[in-house]
């Protein structure tokens, strides 16, 4: 399986990758992107199985990336890892078929609970 992590913070990308390993997902390949525009290129090249994406990013934010993917007919499994937790944010993402929400700060247990059903 190929997991794409999209976050404008290098620190956060490292923390997510480390937490994935702690959650037991250490056998998967991980690619990274710093914003939605970079992510589109990586998705085209690497065709990931799941995208873990921040919400607030420069250039193209997370919801704009998800919307672009769906408009293009790409149904990749897509989840947000974000500090954004309000109902309006979740509703917006749900309408575009988001698979899960993981709230920052996160734990390995949260990743396990959300990703285990997907990364089988």
């Amino acid at each position: 399986m190929n997991i794409l992590i999209v976050d404008d913070s290098k620190t956060m990308r490292m923390m997510i990758a480390r937490t994935l390993k702690k959650a037991g997902f250490d056998g998967h390949s991980i690619s990274q992107a710093g914003n939605g525009v970079e992510a589109l290129k990586v998705i085209e090249d690497a065709n990931p199985d799941v995208v873990l994406c921040d919400w607030n990013m420069p250039e193209m934010n997370g919801i704009e990336l998800l919307r672009k993917l769906r408009e293009d007919g790409n149904r990749v499994k897509f989840g947000f890892v974000t500090t954004e937790t309000t109902n309006d944010v979740r509703e917006m993402a749900d309408e575009l078929g988001v698979s899960f929400f993981i709230t920052k700060p996160f734990t390995p247990e949260k990743f396990d609970a959300e990703l285990s059903p997907i990364l089988v």
Binding site: D8, S9, K10, T11, M12, M14, M15, R18, N56, M57, P58, T82, T83, E84, T85, T86, N87, K104, P105
Partner: protein
Amino acid sequence: MSNSIIVSPKVYSANHLLSIFEEATHEIATTALGYDANGRLVSKPNSSGNPGALVALQLDGRTFHLGIASSDPGLRELAAALMMLEPDDDPLSDDDVSDAVGEIANLIVGNVKSRLCEQNSNANVTLGTPLRWDGQKTPRTSQEMVFSNHRIGDTNVELIVLLTTNEES
């Protein structure tokens, strides 16, 4: 989240935002940084002018910037706590420290947004991405600045709220 009942004002002041910011900081200090929640230091004669990170928060048409600042060793300590570094790990580069402190600010201000929306489900709140804060002791003419000092673990931290009072300047 706090269980205290807070009556949300119609127009938020910088001081009201600061009190919410303080509660959010103590929650993130315990959940994301692994510190005890008992650290509070409330002597605040002046702003230190220390560096750190800011996140913009637009609330019902008003622009706030919420920031966290500390000495260089203090910022390094906070970054190491966020990244759960072990004593044997390589030291962080300056860019990594800056990035990590920005992410800490992002976590705290995200928590502030949640609290504001809990208080008032109709609140219109949007967040920016973290910005580097080079330190500033006094507000500019178009700003109101309030701050308070706290202790997170062994680190003295300053919480700053800037309210832009004249959007056109």
